[in-house]
């Protein structure tokens, strides 16, 4: 045993989890996949009094519901890679999950746990931001929905209350207008399986016909104390156009200039900003390219 001693309790529903959180003080922690929490326990970076194991709280698989893909919080990263509903409706999440840790992390780690951990380099948080997704949160007074864009409050911190439990991620996947969607996930890391130095996730929609961009959104990881959207004014400037490579490079450079990443042991702030320019350009180019391929195939 290397962690501090703690008590352990297992719950079989989210309501029980909320109740257990209400019954204990702020040193109670939820245990989902444990792929971030248990290393922190082993390093004694966290010292909980009780762990509330929610692994048996939900047995649902991802499913479609009125134009949204519903991903239960306990969806494992490996499921994001393998599940046909996810691969077809939110391939960006599958692409992002490929970059997470190693096979053992992906077998145990959960989507809800990853979002709640609020790591500023988190691949799934970054992708969820680009997808305009929201989380469903259950607390003592029932359920509410929070946009992923409003979920994070700083380094490893969310705006959730102590008694709150994330139960679902909802991703809009409806295809209301004619046209096509495209996506891309780009990451630079020191070694395979390392935390991202910088990652960029892009989602675009293009009009039918010549394929002008109708909507574009980019999430960035590794450049602030939380995952952030790339400067909307910069990204929005390609809407209504079929951007050239030079135009995308300009947009990506403007997005990079709007960031002010910190220097740390992994990379300098200047290098991170340079990565934002490069990865945003590649992500937008690949996402638009994919959307155009879909148009051409239709």
């Amino acid at each position: 045993m290397v962690s501090v001693p703690f008590e352990y309790t297992r719950v079989v529903s989210y309501d029980e989890a909320v109740q257990a959180l209400c019954d204990h003080d702020e040193d109670a922690k939820l245990l989902a996949g444990g792929q971030s929490l248990v290393p922190m326990l082993n390093l004694r970076l966290v010292r909980p009094t009780v762990l509330i194991d929610i692994n048996a709280a939900d047995t649902r698989e991802p499913y479609l519901d009125s134009g949204r893909l519903v991903l239960p919080a306990l969806t494992r990263h490996a499921q994001l890679l393998a599940d046909p509903a996810v691969r077809w409706n939110a391939p960006l999440l599958s692409a992002a999950a490929r970059y997470i840790g190693n096979v053992r992390v992906r077998n145990r780690g959960t989507l809800g746990g990853s979002l709640a951990h609020a790591d500023p380099t988190g691949e799934l948080s970054c992708a969820a931001l680009a997808l305009d997704a929201s989380v469903v949160v259950r607390g003592p007074r029932g359920e509410r929905e929070i946009a992923v864009a409003d979920l994070f409050d700083g380094y490893l911190t969310t705006r959730l209350k102590q008694e709150d439990v994330i139960t679902e991620l909802r991703v809009p996947v409806g295809r209301p207008a004619p046209g096509a969607r495209g996506w891309s996930f780009q990451e630079a890391a020191r070694r395979a399986s390392d935390f991202a130095v910088v990652a960029a996730a892009a989602c675009v929609e293009v009009d039918p016909g010549r394929g002008a961009v109708r909507h574009a959104r980019v999430g960035l990881a590794g450049v602030a104390d939380r995952v952030i959207p790339a400067e909307p004014a910069a990204i929005g400037s390609i809407v209504g156009t079929v951007p050239t490579d030079a135009a995308l490079a300009d947009v990506a450079r403007a997005a990079a200039e709007a960031t002010s990443p910190e220097t740390d042991v992994h990379a300098s702030g200047a290098y991170r900003r340079r990565l934002v320019a490069v990865l945003t350009r590649r992500a937008l180019a690949e996402a638009i390219g994919r959307a155009h391929e879909t148009l051409a195939a239709a």
């Binding site: 001693p5 248990v38 053992r104 145990r108 395979a192």
Partner: protein, 158 residues
């Protein structure tokens, strides 16, 4: 701290152990049940030396609480060896092609490769490499490990 008695299904056999909630699965398997092939390495889920299969898929025993393994099938390397200690064909391939040197990482590498071979019929070398990202070897390098796994797959993954 309260200790509870848990029954773990390890390599097809029910094994009882008294564990504290904070006891890690690696500690119970290695220290409690004497399974020397499950090794404490980094304690952060990065190095792969504590790899076991939980319901057939690789997990880090250093990031799993022992109490969490209740009700799940735990498989360690010794489940692969046959009667009288005869080697599994995957182990034979490692021996034949020099895929193991000091041997510290080998159980984790073999279990990870074994799970991949059960899931994918013919993974490419790049896919094998991707699967093994979390199993660090400091002796042989990875070329001979990949050769051994490819040879086992080429023989039909018996």
């Amino acid at each position: 701290m309260t200790r509870t008695r848990v029954t773990l299904e390890v390599n097809g056999v029910g094994r009882e152990a008294w564990v504290a909630p904070s006891d890690l699965l690696v500690d119970v398997l290695h220290d409690g049940l004497g399974l020397g092939e499950v090794r404490y390495g980094c304690g952060e889920g990065v190095c792969g030396t504590c790899t076991v299969l939980l319901d057939g898929e690789p997990v880090s025993a250093c990031l799993t609480l022992a109490v969490q393994a209740e009700g799940h099938a735990v498989t360690t390397l010794s489940a692969l060896t046959g009667e009288g200690g005869s080697l599994h064909p995957l182990q034979e391939a490692f021996l034949r092609l020099g895929g193991s040197q000091c041997g510290f990482c080998t159980p984790g590498v073999i279990l990870t490769a074994y799970a991949l071979a059960r899931r994918e019929r013919a993974p490419s070398r790049a896919e094998i490499r991707y699967e093994l990202v979390g199993n660090l070897c400091r002796c042989t390098g990875y070329t001979k490990i990949l050769d051994a796994i490819e040879s086992y797959l080429a023989d039909g993954a018996p």
